[in-house]
Symmetry: C2
Subunit: 560 residues, 2 copies
Amino acid sequence: MARYALGLDFGTNSVRALVVNVAGGDEIATAVAGYPSGKDGVVIDKKDPNLARQVPADWRAGLAKCVGAALEKAKGKKGFKPKRIIGIGVDTTGSTPLPVDEKCQPLADQARFKKNPNAYAWLWKDHTSFAEAADITALAAKEHPEYLAKCGGTYSSEWFWSKALHCIRVDPDVMEAAASWVEMADYIPGFLVGCDAPADLKRSVCAAGHKAMYHASWRLPAADMLDKLDPALGRLRREETFEQALPSDQVAGQLCPTWAKRLGLEPGIPVAVGAFDAHMGAVGAGIAPGTLVKIIGTSTCDMMVHPNTQPLKDVPGVCGIVDGSIIPGCFGLEAGQSAVGDIFNWFVQQFAGGKAAAHKKLTKEAAKLEPGESGLLALDWNNGNRTVLVDVRLTGLLLGQTLHTTPAEVYRALIEATAFGARVIIERVEEYGLKVNDVINCGGIAEKNPLLMQIYADVTGRPMKISRSAQTCALGAAMFGAVVAGKDAGGYDKIEDAQAAMAGLKPTVYQPDPDAQKTYDRMYKLYRQLHDAFGTRLWQGNMHNVMKEMLVIRDEARGG
Amino acid sequence: MARYALGLDFGTNSVRALVVNVAGGDEIATAVAGYPSGKDGVVIDKKDPNLARQVPADWRAGLAKCVGAALEKAKGKKGFKPKRIIGIGVDTTGSTPLPVDEKCQPLADQARFKKNPNAYAWLWKDHTSFAEAADITALAAKEHPEYLAKCGGTYSSEWFWSKALHCIRVDPDVMEAAASWVEMADYIPGFLVGCDAPADLKRSVCAAGHKAMYHASWRLPAADMLDKLDPALGRLRREETFEQALPSDQVAGQLCPTWAKRLGLEPGIPVAVGAFDAHMGAVGAGIAPGTLVKIIGTSTCDMMVHPNTQPLKDVPGVCGIVDGSIIPGCFGLEAGQSAVGDIFNWFVQQFAGGKAAAHKKLTKEAAKLEPGESGLLALDWNNGNRTVLVDVRLTGLLLGQTLHTTPAEVYRALIEATAFGARVIIERVEEYGLKVNDVINCGGIAEKNPLLMQIYADVTGRPMKISRSAQTCALGAAMFGAVVAGKDAGGYDKIEDAQAAMAGLKPTVYQPDPDAQKTYDRMYKLYRQLHDAFGTRLWQGNMHNVMKEMLVIRDEARGG
């Protein structure tokens, strides 16, 4: 008798439900629901481009909608019945913390906070807290450098404590009203299992470890350090009484009757501890030691694992190294690029007519160009640089424009820039002893854009493989659902077993082209020159050669 | 009885005829005709963005058409009759040399060269000859540094000898067939007066002095130096037997019967020696010592004059210092920006929908932005940098893009970049002892874009005045027509007298706003940093501060 797991993937703009056959990974039904508020589900502020919030009620409404739709579709498939769903896994964006009351209900649900974005969830890409991130980094560097060593040496404005501290500073009423701040990755499983107090929430080691400076040996950062930033932040820390944050092979609880009814499922189904989308996506793509999984979407996450029985140096600029955050028994490493698909979307929206078809048209034209032909070179920092500079106060740069420069040329230069950024990350982790033997890509862009994949192969000099599943995040979540169900219930005892049964690759592999690789090696040197000149204080020379060399490359590419 | 002068202005994309009342400068009729070949009259090569050529037959066809149309309009005005036209002046783009045969006919007219762009006119903005320019500069620096001192220290790829040498190298058949190479500014008056041998052409001191290293004391550069570049270049020099190049208050000849008939004018009307559009435009705008005239079009020309009785240092990076090239008795100084309107047009064409209305829309939106608000900073080098870097091998740069950057923000940043470039020029000439007491702007953009004029005032910290005439080039040409006619015929004896009678300013003056000026002073420092870092070898520091400081400025501008 077939058994199924349900993966729930809460992305930036929508939530997806995926019903997977536990035996072979067959994805029998899926559905997506958007979030009604803001622009594509994100509440923004025209006056402050750093602000990005979400309304928690949107998540709940979207969840009910997409699970209902997925089950409807699944019911058409032979062998499926809702009661054959044996486990549920959940992944979410993060760090996306939200203030909750003593019942673990979002403050945003309260009438008095309904119109106050500070009481909403602070979406991962909210950058309002850059000053607080700098304060936290400076203080931790002095008092607890060990906290920073596990998160790339710099605490980010995207992360938990920065956001809470910014809220304290700009909107103390919200902080006053909050019984706790919780990560979305904990909040979602929490309400599914009927948790009604923050203290009872099972906390994800993925969220706590990567974003809140949690470590098994010291737990959350010291309250007396946080006091120095603001006593309210120290208080928030003191109220976090959980003993241990957990990996996702652990059970958060059982599906509560209220949500079972709302979703059309049996109550009591085990729900796994949550984790971030990228981490579960890496699992769904088949991550293992030596394999880099790149999840390419609006931003990129670069995931690796390393057995926790072997030594591992801290890698400067790599956002997080957390034991069990991806695979239990391995350190999970998270790097990433703050904007990838977002850059292409921005360009098309603003500078190429804004229609979805423009992506296709530009890609087609850009594919006709030789590497270097446009003479353009870009820095992919429109949303700052996450890895390896860990600096949101950086911006995009485009260089090499003439009076003949076309949108397709710029589009290609932007793709190339993200590829150069990807190469910087690979070189950094290898420099610190993590061998990258394999690169598996997943996410919509990896699937749909052969040009981008070929450029990534050419720029990095490595074959680019593609995950078989188009929904690796939801699939990874479903795998953890199968693991918390356990072997006896028709699931698995270990996530590696679930991966072996449920993950796979597509037949197409993008191989690097040696000529393109040569040109990109030269361009990458110039990219690094700009990268280091604009992004670090290391660079002492002038930059006079950059444009000259780009023009030589361009002319050669054109056969001159 | 009213007397009229006819000004003929050959621009990059079209030719204009202007009929002016000599007494008060009243412009009674004007007409424009395009050139039929290529893209907007410019023959380009998709494979080589440096190439820009023109078909000489287009000029003749356009001339007949626009003069005919202007005369038709003028005939409707009281007091006008074609025979009351007492003189003709001609200005053209330059350096725009073309190969001609022994009859002074363009090689491009011959059937065998009809499809060979190397036999066409090499338009000023043709940059194919950058390698030759470097060779000429290197050799002249060694053997005749005095040649370079008068043209900013670097011989340009846009200029006469570079283009001829490039033709020798890439297409020796064309050079073999050429009896001479002549500037468009000499060729046009030449055919109007029926000149049928290159040796009989009156040569413009403006063209020869600014573009061909001509100087009264040594005439054209030494043939034995040119021999070292190529014997064919030495031969070309030896065949140039003219004794003296002339300012435009001198007569090139009388309108020949053939062209009189074709244009519908009386034969025998005196035609002035030609000059470049910018030089005559400066005259039409009312140039005098202490007044900078900016002619803002696709590119910008910055013109000054300095009495030749007073000492004047050579100004590094200022393209030319030539006695009599603008006003007889004064040194004429020419500086400029290789692309201004061209940059805005490129941006609108490629990135903002391409419609003419887009300029208006973007200008309207850009006008709502505060200085610095976008966080963007650009280098205006999409067509290289003419002054003060004299380097065509530079390209555009845009810095500060986020995921929220809009076309209007980029449009404004591009305007600001050209304003910063304009300020570099003013600072350079003042540094070398030429006081800029007044700035008079002319050209379509100066007239039609108050935003651009305000930004120029704010960036330079100087009031921006606008020439009364919308057609200062053609008006300046007409003034020289009035001068070659002479006082006895109803014209003038000196160009200053013609200016006094025929030039004027508009009532609107753009005054610098002190707040905007302060912000722009800060941005200008960063512009200079990029300018010097990317454009020179002077800069030793890193550039880490650039984006940071731009973001601080942006946030402050937004009131943060």
